[in-house]
């Protein structure tokens, strides 16, 4: 039986654009005195009535033009943003890969950053110790793991960050456009690893502009444009509709 790992229904998320943004108490006081300098808020919907289902072991893509709300949706799933309306149910642990190496501190060594980063995802010490060797091996950093990462090359940095994220054994992996980093070989390795996770039951939600890859890899694709869900279903069809939209 297939069970939905992610279930979103009727999701609405608004954003507030602030003109003359009040960032300090001083501005707040000035605003009381002078209405022209008062903060004006304009809110708009970043996502309107979006629904989304991801089954166990599925790879689901989200495509759409810039600013359409793809990343916002991903952050709602990650729990970083709280939607105004609607329900987000995620069954299991989520590992968001919105950026590689979030929270890495340049002064700390690769190993210390590994512990810190894994803890950020909610792992406890024994869990981290269990996956530590695999992370280091996969990142090919055996020799440099005790070096402060300020001395790492971009490649080493990225490998470590990615390696931690994919070894967390999450039920859900959220990937935001990070396949665009790194060289060809690294991208291949990333993809391989993601397919491997997928076959072991991890669900992957992927935001990407790489339509060819999305078409080839995903089981299902959601097309979002202008904060609305335009299409959900067959990847080939979704990409075709999107291409048509882009052309017109």
């Amino acid at each position: 039986m297939s069970q939905n790992v992610i279930e979103i229904s009727g999701l609405w998320k608004s954003f507030v654009v602030r003109h003359n943004r009040t960032e300090s108490l001083k501005q707040l006081f000035i605003g009381w005195l002078d209405w022209r300098r008062r903060e004006r808020r304009q809110s708009f919907w970043a996502l309107t009535d979006v629904g989304l289902q991801v089954e166990r072991g599925q790879m689901v893509g989200i495509i759409g033009p810039n600013g359409s709300g793809k990343s916002t949706l991903l952050r709602c799933v990650a729990g970083i943003l709280k939607p105004e309306r609607g329900e987000v149910i995620v069954r299991g642990r989520v590992a968001p890969m919105i950026e590689i190496g979030v929270g890495f501190h340049p002064e700390l060594t690769g190993e210390e950053n590994l512990y810190l980063n894994a803890a950020l995802y909610g792992l406890d010490r024994p869990q981290i110790e269990a996956i530590r060797p695999a992370i280091i091996e996969y990142a090919e950093l055996e020799e440099f793991i005790d070096v402060p990462i300020k001395n790492y090359s971009t490649g080493m940095y990225t490998r470590l960050g990615f390696s931690i994220a994919v070894h967390l054994q999450p039920e859900v992996l959220l990937v935001d456009e990070i396949l665009a980093v790194g060289d060809e070989a690294f991208q291949q390795k990333c993809l391989q690893r993601m397919m491997q996770l997928k076959s072991s039951g991890t669900s992957i939600l992927l935001v990407s502009h790489d339509l060819a890859k999305v078409e080839k890899l995903c089981d299902k694709v959601y097309l979002i444009a202008h904060s609305r869900l335009e299409f959900a279903g067959d990847p080939v069809k979704a990409v075709a509709i999107y291409r048509e939209k882009l052309a017109s």
Partner: protein, 267 residues
């Protein structure tokens, strides 16, 4: 499991507990980053209170001829004051300086101000390595029995400080200049808090009523009592400390819980 977890307090508490490794790692990071590359390493944590104690002792004993003020009286208050002042000042930055984390990963946001409080609390505890010998030195080689009250005062003071840290870290996220306001306020509060003067001095001027307006004063009157005067804390101060510590913690938690969902958007 829904994610993020439901809003019941027990659920949240369990969730927070799951992240204790993160709390530990963040504190360890701060400690490592602070001392990495320094020769004396964590001995700096001892040198800091030591220098305070030595300087105050020398100045009060040999330079300022104020018979009313004894070094130990000031030392009793200055060590917990440094804990409070540092925690509160740094807590204003605990969310905004970690904007990158808050915007990209979900974890209980309370961890950030809590790690600030605990980081400084560890420094405070380390200070005891020099503080206790100093007390013995001024008391002729013994420790007053009233120090048994110390952990109680400390616990209440801790909870007060944690509440203030939660409140300030959340408030600064919305209004950035609270950070500078806090720095200025801390300097003024220092003089409004009984550190360089004591309860008897205040009482002789008939000014005790004034100090009810400063929630910190019962804590510092009590520190002086148990360290310097060898008396238990005054009952009215015990009650005041209890009320203020609960009130501050509840206020801090309430404001934090109310605002935390907006942090990622606000930063």
């Amino acid at each position: 499991m829904t994610y993020p977890p439901g809003s019941s307090l027990t659920q949240e508490w369990r969730y927070l507990l799951r992240y204790r490794e993160l709390l530990r790692s963040l504190i360890a990071k701060d400690l490592k980053v602070k001392y990495r590359g320094s020769y004396l390493g964590f001995f700096w944590s001892l040198l800091n209170p030591l220098s305070l104690i030595v300087v105050y002792s020398l100045v009060l004993k040999f330079i300022m001829d104020v018979r009313q003020i004894e070094p130990l009286m000031v030392i009793a208050g200055i060590i917990p004051w440094v804990f409070f002042a540092n925690t509160v000042t740094n807590s204003t930055e605990s969310i905004i300086s970690n904007a990158n984390l808050v915007k990209k990963i979900f974890f209980p946001r309370e961890i950030l101000p809590l790690s600030t409080v605990l980081f400084h609390f560890i420094q405070f505890l380390l200070a005891f390595v020099v503080f206790l010998p100093a007390v013995m030195f001024f008391k002729g080689g013994r420790l007053p029995w009233t120090l048994l009250y110390y952990p109680l005062i400390l616990l209440l003071h801790w909870s007060f400080t944690a509440g203030a840290a939660l409140f300030l870290s959340a408030a600064t996220t919305y209004y950035k200049d609270i950070r500078y306001l806090t720095e200025v306020a801390i300097m003024m509060v220092f003089w409004g808090t009984p550190i360089l003067y004591t309860y008897p001095m205040v009482a002789s001027k008939g000014l005790t009523w004034l100090f009810w307006f400063n929630p910190l004063s019962p804590f510092f009157f009590s520190y002086q009592n148990v360290v310097h005067f060898e008396q238990p804390p005054r009952p009215e101060h015990l009650i005041a400390m209890l009320l203020w510590s609960i009130l501050m913690l509840v206020l801090g938690l309430a404001v934090f819980r109310k605002t935390r969902d907006g942090f990622a958007e606000e930063l």
